[in-house]
Symmetry: C2
Subunit: 299 residues, 2 copies
């Protein structure tokens, strides 16, 4: 049976004027993304500004989307903090909600650490949360400074079996993605760019967890549904067209600006430091991206 | 009047067998460091594994050393987290204790951010904590990925005046330290290596906040007290001799192993993931460092 191909959105986190988490818009955006073709959500990822949120804010926002009707079985929240206690608290909270799993950064302050040390860090969390936890490993060395190496994955699977459920590769390096899929076909390996969906699926991957799913869920879902069909090239051109615009400008501020433009609700553009709002200089680029992404259902 | 030259120790954080913070040894080590010549403590820095501690653990450990008799006016705890809420909570807690100031990392998950964004992040924390907060900026780009640039410092001083109290330069690049001292003589600029104390002091700096102060407080204090005196070269050779040993092996595990060797208490060597204990391969190096550091008062 072929692997199920799915799209999980690292949903943006809207903020109120005092920069507190705007849970009303967080829930509305979650519903909009599902209504427009996303299979699920991976909130509290890099794009979600999760690392600018406190543990309490992350828990309350997760509560809000689940209370708001999003199916926990299709939610993979990010839970990896620098310190184990907070990672354990977030992971236990998500597991208690029945989430499909958690997307877990390695501890990311200290650099130059060993695979043994990173293994010990993951093991400590998994043992503390217990057997219901399912972990998606998060490889984003350009931000975390700590790579998820193949020997590390092997050691984790050997110890924890199917509690190691998958991996998101945000490195942008296809050779790494391919090596993970080949070595560990039993886990779900997601690319971070929808441009790689054809390669990812052909190699045996599980789909995509991409920032650009926020403004372009319909287009990316159409590509997944139409892979290798008569419209394949046009669908791929659409998603790559949207994506290439965002690659030229500050990504997270631009994603938020695009949601603001699509919804006609400027509040979605608000962002926490250390980011700054996108500004007028890139307004035309956002307009182009939104035009290519096309009409979205309101919710 | 010449600037006061001081040594603040980024005190290690001892752990119990279950890896909880060992507050009894944390206090005992703090007292030992002061008894052996340190002017003060900068706990919860990089060497303290602060980024492997939760907010609650950091607060409780700070309470413990102050309850244990360490003068808050000589304590500069690290408080910078990825997210503002936790940085504000820790900074307010330290300020409430009457700490001399806080050593504040910029938000360090997101890379490639602008000076404006980092300024906004610091400003948000300083405004939230209030006028009693004094901030020592923490420049350690090899870990944080976010540099404290000169234009950023200028903008912070212009806005917050003497609430910007100082800077610790952990980059190891003397040109940067010198440029900060020259441009901002009104703030206290600390080097992170005792090897640079003569240069730091000659240029108008304020001293040193160094990992190696943990095992070698007596030697480093002797250098500061004997700068340009008849024993200057021998004193400098001693501190550089100890330091060069640690530069060749995993620093934080080695510092903890050295404290264990000096105190005859193996529990000090315990470390949290993602670090691993130093191991036998480097035991001789630690023995050498401890021998050069010489006798330490027990408390």
């Amino acid at each position: 049976m072929p692997r199920k191909i799915e799209l999980f959105v690292p949903a943006i986190t809207p903020f109120a004027t005092d920069l507190s988490v705007d849970k009303v818009r967080f829930v509305a955006n979650a519903r909009r993304l599902i209504a427009n073709g996303a299979h699920g959500l991976a909130p509290f990822g890099t794009t979600s500004e999760a690392n600018s949120l406190s543990v309490a804010e992350r828990m309350e926002a997760l509560d809000a989307i689940i209370d708001g009707g999003i199916n926990a079985a299709q939610v993979i929240p990010g839970t990896g903090c620098c310190n184990a206690n907070e990672t354990i608290a977030l992971s236990a909270h998500a597991t208690g909600h029945g989430c499909r799993g958690v997307l877990m950064l390695p501890p990311f302050y200290y650099k130059g650490v060993t695979d043994e040390g990173v293994f010990n860090a993951y093991a400590r969390v998994i043992e503390a949360v217990g057997p219901d936890l399912r972990v998606y490993l998060y490889h984003i060395p350009q931000m975390s400074g700590v790579a998820i190496t193949l020997p590390l994955i092997e050691r984790l699977i050997k110890r924890f079996g199917d509690q190691i459920a998958g991996l998101k590769d945000s490195s942008g390096k296809w050779d790494y993605t391919a090596s993970v899929i080949e070595a560990f076909p039993q886990i779900d390996t997601y690319s971070a760019s929808e441009s790689m969906i054809p390669q990812n699926v052909a190699a045996g991957g599980a789909g995509c967890i991409s920032a650009t799913l926020n403004p372009n869920p319909t287009g990316i879902r159409a590509l997944v549904d139409g892979l290798n069909g008569p419209d394949h090239d046009a669908l791929h051109a659409q998603v790559s067209g949207v994506r290439s615009i965002f690659e030229g400008i500050p990504l997270i501020p631009a994603i938020k600006a695009a949601i603001a433009a699509q919804t006609g609700d400027a509040d979605y553009a608000r962002i926490r430091p250390p980011f700054v709002e996108l500004g007028e200089a890139h307004a035309d680029a956002v307009t182009d991206a939104v035009r290519i992404a096309g009409e979205q259902r309101p919710s």
